[in-house]
Symmetry: C2
Subunit: 248 residues, 2 copies
DNA sequence: TCGAATTTGTTCGTATGTATT
DNA sequence: TAATACATACGAACAAATTCG
C-alpha cells in the first residue's frame, strides 16, 4: 500500500470510497496477514494524507460489507475470506469445478425465455440467422454463497423444454442428458472484466468492489456440434479462474 | 441500457461517474452500433433521471478518454476501438499472441531488482524458501498502445543478468534463449480482476474504467522445470483473454 | 438560400454533499 | 459541533453549429 499516489479529488469517486477500495485491495494482497488487522486510523489517515474522519468513513463501509470488524480499544480486525479457484478447461462443469472448496453447489433457474438468435449467438451455435433459441438465466451458488450469474442459449429446435429439466435437476449436465447429450466439451472461453450493473450487484451480493469477470463460452457435443452458448459473470473478489494447460 | 436501475446516490461514486460507466458499457455492448452515436444529452438526462449538466459531465469524461467525440449541432459520436483478443494457452508468448491484430509489439523493461523469494514465488519456481530471485517489470505495447504491465520472477542462480538480455532483445523468449532455453510452455494461468492502482492507471493509460485483468502464470522449460513466474495486468476495456483448451 | 428543428456549448444562480480544521 | 472550502448537482436561459426540407 504505497503512499506515493494519494487521493484524486476530481475522479468522481469520494475520498472515503477510494480509501476503502485501496484498503480492500491491500487486504486482498495479503499485506496485513502478519497481524490480521488494519493499521490504526491515525496511521492510515496520515498515510493517505486525509483526515481521520475520512478514514473512519472508509472503514465503516468495509465493516458494513463484512470485510472488517472494529473492536474498541483493540483495533480493526480483518474478517478472512479465501478466494475460490474455478478451473476452466475442456471439461468445465459448474457442479464439479469447485470440488473440495465447497460442500454443496446449486444452480437456480432465474428465468427462461424464447428468443430469436442475435447474429453473435446464431454464429456461435451454428444456427441460421434469426433461428429461435432458448435463453436461460441461472444463479450458481456454492454453500449458499452466490458465485456466478449466467445466461445460457440453446437451440429451441433441439432443446425445447430444457428449462424444466434444469429446474428439476439443478444441473446443466443432467438437463442436457435428457436430450441424449452424454458428454460435452468446451470449445472456447473468452474472459473480460467490467463494472457490474446494479442488478448484477444485487444477484451476486457484491461488496465494495462491484467488479465481475465475464466469460463467453461455447460448449459442443461429442460430435463437435455447438449446443450451448453461455455468458457467465463471476464476482471478481470472490473467484479466480484457473486455466490448466497440461499435456504436451 | 435499461432505466430500471437509476443512480445510487449513496455509493460514494458521483452520479456523472456512474452514468459515464454505464454509457461506456452500453457502447461496449454495441447498443449504439446502428447510428454510431450516443443519444442526445436531453434524452440521456431524462433516461437516467438527472440534469443535463450531469450527463454532460459524464460525456466530458468519456470524451477526455477518447471514447466519444462531441460535435456541436450534430451529436456525440462514438470513437471506435475494437477490443483485442489475447490468447492464453500452452504456448503463450506476448510477441506472437496478438498476431494480425497488431502490426508491431514491443516489450519495454521498466525495472529490474534482486530479491529474496516470497513463499508463493519460491513454491511456484520450485526454489528453496528465501532463494534469491530476479524481479523484472515490463510494459508491453502493441502499435504503441499499452496492452499489459507485467512483473516476472526468475531464479537468480539460473538467470543472472536476464534483465540486460531483455533490454537488448525486447523479448522474453529471446532473453531466455541466451540461457539455453530453446522452448518453454505455460503450466498454469490464474485470472482475476480488480480496480487498478493509480500507477497502473498511468502505465496502462486506462480511461474511465480503471479495471485490470490480472493473470498469475508459471512457465516451465522442456524438462517441465518451472523457470518463470509472472503477474500480468491487462487493461480490461481493451483486451479480452481467450483461454485455449486444446486436445480431446 | 432560407429558416425551423435539433443538438451541443456556455453562463448565470442556487442548493446540497464532502472533507478539513 | 461549527465554520470553511470545494466538488457535485440542478434549473433556466441563451448562443452556436449542424441538419434537413
Amino acid at each position: 500500500m504505497n503512499g506515493e499516489f494519494l487521493i484524486d479529488r476530481k475522479s468522481g469517486i469520494a475520498a472515503w470510497k477510494q480509501i476503502a477500495d485501496r484498503i480492500a485491495r491491500a487486504i486482498d494482497a495479503g499485506e496485513f496477514d502478519a497481524t490480521g488487522m488494519v493499521p490504526p486510523e491515525t496511521e492510515l489517515a496520515e498515510h493517505f494524507g486525509v483526515n481521520r474522519h475520512t478514514v473512519r468513513s472508509a472503514i465503516a463501509a468495509l465493516a458494513e460489507g463484512g470485510v472488517l470488524r472494529r473492536v474498541q480499544g483493540r483495533g480493526t480486525l480483518i474478517e478472512k475470506r479465501a478466494r475460490l479457484v474455478y478451473p476452466v478447461g475442456r471439461r468445465t462443469r459448474f457442479s464439479e469445478g469447485l470440488g473440495r472448496q465447497a460442500a454443496e453447489t446449486d444452480i437456480k433457474l432465474l428465468a427462461e425465455a424464447e428468443e430469436t438468435a442475435s447474429p453473435l449467438i446464431s454464429a456461435a451455435l451454428a444456427l441460421e440467422a434469426g433461428a429461435p433459441v432458448i435463453r436461460i438465466e441461472t444463479l450458481n451458488t456454492a454453500d449458499g454463497v452466490p458465485i456466478s450469474l449466467a445466461t445460457h442459449y440453446f437451440s429451441h429446435a433441439r432443446f425445447a423444454g430444457i428449462g424444466g429439466h434444469l429446474a428439476a435437476w439443478h444441473s446443466i449436465t443432467r438437463a442436457l442428458a435428457e436430450f441424449g447429450i452424454d458428454d460435452y466439451v468446451r470449445l472456447s472461453t473468452e474472459v473480460t472484466a467490467r463494472m457490474a450493473s446494479a442488478s448484477e450487484v444485487a444477484h451476486l451480493a457484491l461488496g465494495t468492489t462491484p467488479i465481475v469477470l465475464e466469460t463467453l463460452a461455447v460448449n459442443a457435443d461429442s460430435a463437435a456440434r455447438p449446443i450451448q452458448y453461455s455468458r457467465t459473470l463471476f464476482a471478481a473478489d470472490r473467484i479466480a479462474l484457473r486455466l490448466d494447460t497440461p499435456g504436451g
